[in-house]
Symmetry: C2
Subunit: 149 residues, 2 copies
């Protein structure tokens, strides 16, 4: 499978929102494509520590993830890269695209000088756990969330 | 206990590094205060999406945490606040200071318009789990890390 990874443009955004919403866990809370997603896109692209990435295949957006570089005092002042909102389009799941995308993310983290790559995944996503385990990630932490009203 | 929470200054940094290092899990990897911590401090303070916070009591730094605002497409383009590197000085643990600090962080998240507050904590930190549970955080996610060479 020939896939290119690149920074998302505003034209990719409807496809990105559709992928994030096409998910049993995240569907309700994503909403349909609208101005709030465009405002978020502008905030992401204005911040050099954030990158919204898409995977493109035959001119179509087939995957997405967001990479955030976080400077910190821990680990001798290390940068860490956090990965959020990882999605592969339904028709292409199970074909190795997710693995390629994560390998690309790890390479990007090295380029940016990050010492750690981190992500959280819902405890209900058993397939995702096997996937991240197979990539060498270690589920060493509890991931806590507090949703504000 | 009368405590003030404020943005850290460079003068606070040795105390912050000492608190991060005074920890059975993080000791080895934190290092002693040096130029790499100062460089990280500069990177944090240069980024409006990052805030390094200290708790001060009677002129002494007694707690620290880092807050990172992350824009994202998920949850209708919501901002989320991530909390990293939470520490309370050893002599004051168990006196409610951590609770005050986290309540302050949640209030700060509301001020900045965040829809979610999130953090991860090492699975070995059982006391921390009870603490975050008691604050209403939900351990809904697995927290994965990949340490790069």
């Amino acid at each position: 499978m020939s896939v290119e990874f690149r920074t998302a443009s505003i034209e990719d955004l409807p496809a990105i929102v559709a992928m994030i919403a096409d998910d049993s866990i995240a569907a309700d809370r994503t909403g349909t494509y609208g101005p709030e997603h465009r405002a978020a896109f502008e905030a992401i692209t204005a911040d050099p520590n954030n990158e919204l990435i898409v995977a493109e295949r035959d001119g179509e957006v087939v995957g997405t993830m967001q990479l955030t570089c976080i400077p910190g005092i821990s680990r001798r002042g290390a940068l860490r890269m956090q990965i959020e909102a990882v999605r592969i389009t339904a028709a292409l799941r199970g074909h190795g695209l997710g693995r390629k995308m994560m390998e690309w993310a790890v390479e990007r983290a090295r380029e940016r000088g990050c010492a750690v790559v981190q992500l959280t995944t819902d405890k209900r996503r058993r397939d995702a756990h096997r996937f991240y385990d197979s990539l060498g990630f270690v589920a060493s932490h509890e991931g806590y969330k507090l949703v504000l009203d």
